[in-house]
């Protein structure tokens, strides 16, 4: 079974990402211009996003069933491609300001994206594991990319140690599941005996490993420190990219393996509640905006887990839509934070945002849109995200989960609105610097704002796509 043309077409996005990363590494010694590297990285991520279309045109499995190109993987490839494109676009001015080497940075981002792409389309656990590691190891290094900043090194170290620990759990889980079912291909696990303890343990360990990657409580301890210490464009990538990819794998296992569908339900229920409360209560007491957004991203993982617990098609659709809405808002918010942080990321405190509306009306307006979307107000994409999750929860008679989620949304409103109030109602401090936004950063913000508003008004395209029966290629 030599790989055929279709096999390569179905993994084309990953190949493009890898080729782009390798090319950047080759060019690094010869090219001096920062512009050239960022253009190349932009080109590679755009090409990879487009090539997801080629993969979608020839749906089916590749490499003997290890990979599946279907509507589901198409959606996640588009999402990851978009996230990477926006991160690259928004990071060039940051890298210049902090005097960081561009070629290696972009290469690592592209390799991480390739890993996330693998996660989105893998239907075999070993392949998924390699994808997870590609994305994780790139992430560890990116977290420590500001080597002169002690916080960045701390972030990388913590992420690496805890991430490796979680990976061990994931791998042990795969070993146990393989030991019981005799296969690592998800589609062949249908006949497995659900009542078997080893299989239960294996699935539980896989859930622990992936729970760490999506920052679900009680596996979320690393998140605030890592998000705060990492360079802000990297934090933007973390909150949108690897998280979506890990959710994609979790969802594919949950849907395709009947044993997981049965066994993970209560785990998701419990994780969702814990995660929502940890994230929101943690965010309440933060005065550092970057840290507050880190806690808020924990809370959003909790909302997504509510949709998992719904175990229905509308739940799946809600997850896909929510990930899109969440990625746009979080990316945009972190991009604003990264730019306003100034040299060495010194201005991250809530006080530094006082009177932002007077100093930089555009940034304040954009950040407000993102915060309102995270809060879930109408006309923003976040509203329909939360709406569909509520609908899925009520549809599956998970009244308590829906109630707790509503309660958490109210808690969340406090800290999102507090930041907006600080930006609009307070007088600016006189020494506050007022660096203008570079064109590329403004473009990122414009795309994120327009996307947030567009999907807040017209969510139907995405929802009907996510509800289509052929989503998992069946």
């Amino acid at each position: 079974m030599f790989p055929l043309r279709e096999d390569f077409l179905r993994v084309l996005p990953e190949l493009v990402f890898c080729a782009g990363g390798t090319l950047l590494m080759f060019l690094q010694p010869f090219v001096r211009s920062r512009q050239a590297f960022s253009s190349l990285a932009l080109l590679a991520s755009a090409a990879a996003t487009l090539s997801a279309g080629f993969a979608a045109l020839t749906p089916g499995t590749a490499f003997g069933g290890l990979i599946r190109a279907d509507g589901f993987s198409f959606f996640f490839h588009l999402l990851i491609g978009l996230v990477v494109f926006l991160v690259v676009l928004g990071s060039s001015s940051y890298l210049e300001r902090e005097r960081l080497a561009p070629a290696e940075f972009y290469a690592l981002v592209l390799f991480a994206a390739a890993g996330m792409g693998v996660l989105a389309s893998a239907q075999e656990l070993l392949t998924a594991f390699i994808g997870l590691e590609m994305s994780s190891i790139s992430s560890y290094i990116l977290a420590g990319y500001r080597r002169d900043a002690i916080k960045s090194s701390e972030s990388a170290m913590k992420y690496f140690l805890l991430g490796s620990f979680a990976t061990a759990f994931f791998l042990y889980g795969i070993a146990l599941v393989y030991g019981k079912t005799g296969t690592t291909v998800l589609t062949q696990m249908g006949s497995a005996d659900v009542s078997d303890t080893v299989l239960k343990l294996g699935l539980a360990l896989i859930l622990v490993g992936l729970g760490f990657k999506v920052a679900a409580a009680p596996f979320q301890v690393w998140t605030p420190d890592v998000y705060e210490g990492a360079p802000t464009p990297v934090t933007a990538l973390f909150s949108a990219g690897p998280k979506a990819a890990a959710f994609a794998l979790l969802l594919r296992i949950f849907v395709m393996v009947p044993a997981a569908t049965q066994l993970w339900f209560w785990a998701f229920w419990l994780l969702a509640v814990l995660t929502m409360f940890t994230g929101n209560l943690g965010a309440l007491v933060q005065s550092n905006v970057k840290r507050m957004l880190a806690y808020s991203s924990i809370a959003h993982a909790g909302y997504l887990l509510v949709a998992f617990a719904a175990r229905s098609e509308i739940g799946v659709a809600a997850i896909l839509f929510y990930l899109l809405a969440y990625a746009l808002a979080k990316l945009g918010a972190f991009t604003v934070v990264g730019h306003l942080g100034g040299g060495g990321e010194k201005h991250l405190d809530l006080e530094d945002y006082a009177g932002l509306a007077q100093r930089q009306p555009f940034a304040a307006a954009a950040l407000s849109v993102f915060l309102l979307s995270l809060l879930g107000l109408p006309v923003t994409a976040g509203f329909f995200g939360k709406f569909y999750i509520f609908k899925a929860a009520l549809h599956s008679h998970l009244i308590w989960l829906a109630v707790l989620m509503g309660l958490n949304s109210v808690i969340g409103a406090y800290y999102y609105l507090r930041l907006i109030v600080v930006m609009y109602m307070r007088e600016p401090r006189e020494e506050a610097a007022c660096a203008p936004f570079p064109a590329a950063v403004s473009m990122v913000l414009t795309i994120c704002v327009l996307g947030t508003l567009y999907f807040g008004l017209f969510p139907n395209h995405v929802i009907s796509f996510a509800l289509s029966p052929g989503l998992f290629g069946r």
Partner: protein, 166 residues
């Protein structure tokens, strides 16, 4: 108890003992030496399973090349004794009982479960070198090739984190 089984328990005890002393040892060189014990014991376990090739690779690559590199780096950095902080003591008192509980739980579950007849890859006798090659270069060629990119990322990361300031 068959000699086969006895050998298994001896090797397993060596592996676990080596792993524990790796964590407990406070000097990096001692940890590295304990790691060699783990690697060699694992190679013995692979041999018991009839996987000669994997056992040989385990010795050559891990116990040989990688461990030499480890020891070399430790010597080069002149790494001294680890310092124990209050947090690491806390991790010991809370972590050890939890780790023991998890291990006991897993062992009980594995002991009680019925063995399965392997299908797919394992049924073809993945232990023999030819079967292993077929698995690596045919069935699992895609993750195998992806691994090369994974290693490339690791190399790039080492360069990024270790290079001198310009």
């Amino acid at each position: 108890m068959t000699p086969h089984l006895m050998l298994f328990f001896v090797l397993a005890a060596l592996a676990v003992g080596g792993a524990v002393s790796l964590i407990v040892a406070s000097h990096p060189i001692r940890s590295a030496l304990a790691l060699i014990v783990v690697m060699v014991a694992l190679a013995g376990l692979y041999l018991l399973l009839g996987a000669e090739f994997v056992a040989a690779v385990q010795i050559i690559v891990y116990a040989g090349a990688i461990m030499v590199l480890f020891v070399f780096v430790i010597m080069l950095l002149n790494a001294g004794e680890e310092e124990r902080t209050n947090v690491s003591r806390l991790a010991g008192t809370a972590g050890i009982p939890l780790a023991v509980a998890l291990a006991g739980f897993l062992a009980a579950a594995v002991a009680r479960s019925t063995p399965v007849t392997a299908t797919g890859a394992a049924a073809q006798g993945a232990a023999s070198t030819r079967a292993l090659a077929n698995l690596l270069f045919r069935e699992f060629v895609y993750p195998f090739e992806l691994t090369s990119f994974l290693i490339l990322v690791a190399i790039l990361g080492a360069l990024v984190l270790a290079q001198r300031e310009k």
